[in-house]
C-alpha cells in the first residue's frame, strides 16, 4: 500500500515527528511504500541541517535523511511555511526538498492513505 505522511510539528518539542518516523519505519518494514513525507507548519524545522542534539539523544534530522537515502522516501518541505520559519536551501539537510503545498494535495490524491502527525 502507498502511504503519504504529514508532519506538523518540529523535532524535539513535540513527539509528532518521532511518531511519524517510527510509523514510516514500520510501514516500510511491512513492505509498504512511503510515497512522501510532507512537512508543514513547524514541521519544516525537521529539515534543518544545523541541528546538533546531545550525544545521548536521537538525531531526528539525520534519521529522516537516512530514510530518504535508504528507501527513496520523498521528503518535501512546504516553501511558504519554511520561509516564514527560516528554513532555506542553505540550511536544508540532505534528502529534503522545498516545494509547494500542491505536493501535499498530490500526496492526498495519489496515496492510498494519508496519516497526519501533529499537536
Amino acid at each position: 500500500m502507498k502511504f503519504g505522511i504529514l508532519v506538523n510539528e518540529g523535532p524535539y518539542q513535540h513527539q509528532a515527528s518521532d511518531s511519524a518516523y517510527l510509523f514510516c519505519k514500520a510501514a516500510l518494514a511491512a513492505g509498504h511504500q512511503v510515497f512522501r513525507v510532507f512537512f508543514y507548519h513547524d514541521g519544516v524545522h525537521n529539515a534543518s541541517r544545523l541541528t546538533e542534539p546531545p550525544q545521548d539523544d536521537r538525531n531526528i534530522v539525520t534519521r529522516w535523511s537516512a530514510l530518504a537515502e535508504s528507501h527513496g522516501v520523498d521528503l518535501v518541505v512546504c516553501v511558504a511555511a519554511a520561509l516564514r520559519r527560516g528554513i532555506k536551501e542553505e540550511n536544508l539537510a540532505p534528502g529534503f526538498r522545498i516545494s509547494g503545498l500542491g505536493q501535499l494535495v498530490e500526496a492526498g490524491i495519489q496515496a492510498d492513505r494519508l496519516v497526519t502527525f501533529g499537536d
Partner: protein, 124 residues
C-alpha cells in the same frame, strides 16, 4: 491541474481557534490549493474551530493579519460545503448570525457520518 484526472473527497477538519496558533491560517492555504487541483473540498468546523468563522475580527491590536475575510472568498473558488458543529456553537453561545459565511449546521453524529464518507481527512 487535476492529478491524473482523479477527484477525491477532501475534508478539512478545523478544531482550533484562530490567532492563538497558526493552524487555522495555514489550513486555509491548503484548502485553496486543494480546490485548485479540482478536488471535491468540504470544511468542517468543530470545537474551537467554529471561532474561525466569528464575525467582527479586528486584529490591529495584536499586529497580526486578519485572515477571516478569506472565508468569505471561498465561494469564489467553488468551495461551498461548510459544516459547523451544532454542539460547538451552542456551548459557545453563538448562532448562525454570528458567523461570517453561510454554513450548514450539523450535530456531532451527522458530522461523523460525513467524515466517514470522505477519501482524505486533513486536520491541523
Amino acid at each position: 491541474m487535476s492529478e491524473e484526472g482523479r477527484t477525491k473527497k477532501f475534508m478539512f477538519v478545523n478544531r482550533k481557534a484562530p490567532y492563538g496558533t497558526v493552524y487555522a491560517l495555514e489550513s486555509l492555504e491548503v484548502v485553496l490549493i486543494t480546490a485548485a487541483f479540482d478536488q471535491d473540498v468540504s470544511l468542517a468546523f468543530l470545537d474551537d474551530g467554529v471561532y474561525q468563522l466569528r464575525k467582527g475580527q479586528q486584529t490591529k491590536g495584536i499586529e497580526t493579519k486578519n485572515f477571516s475575510p478569506t472565508y468569505r472568498a471561498l465561494e469564489g473558488y467553488d468551495i461551498e460545503k461548510l459544516y459547523v458543529e451544532k454542539e460547538a456553537i451552542e456551548a459557545r453561545g453563538l448562532s448562525e448570525e454570528d458567523l461570517l459565511v453561510e454554513v450548514t449546521v450539523l450535530d456531532r453524529q451527522a458530522l461523523g457520518k460525513l467524515m466517514d464518507e470522505q477519501d482524505v481527512l486533513l486536520s491541523f
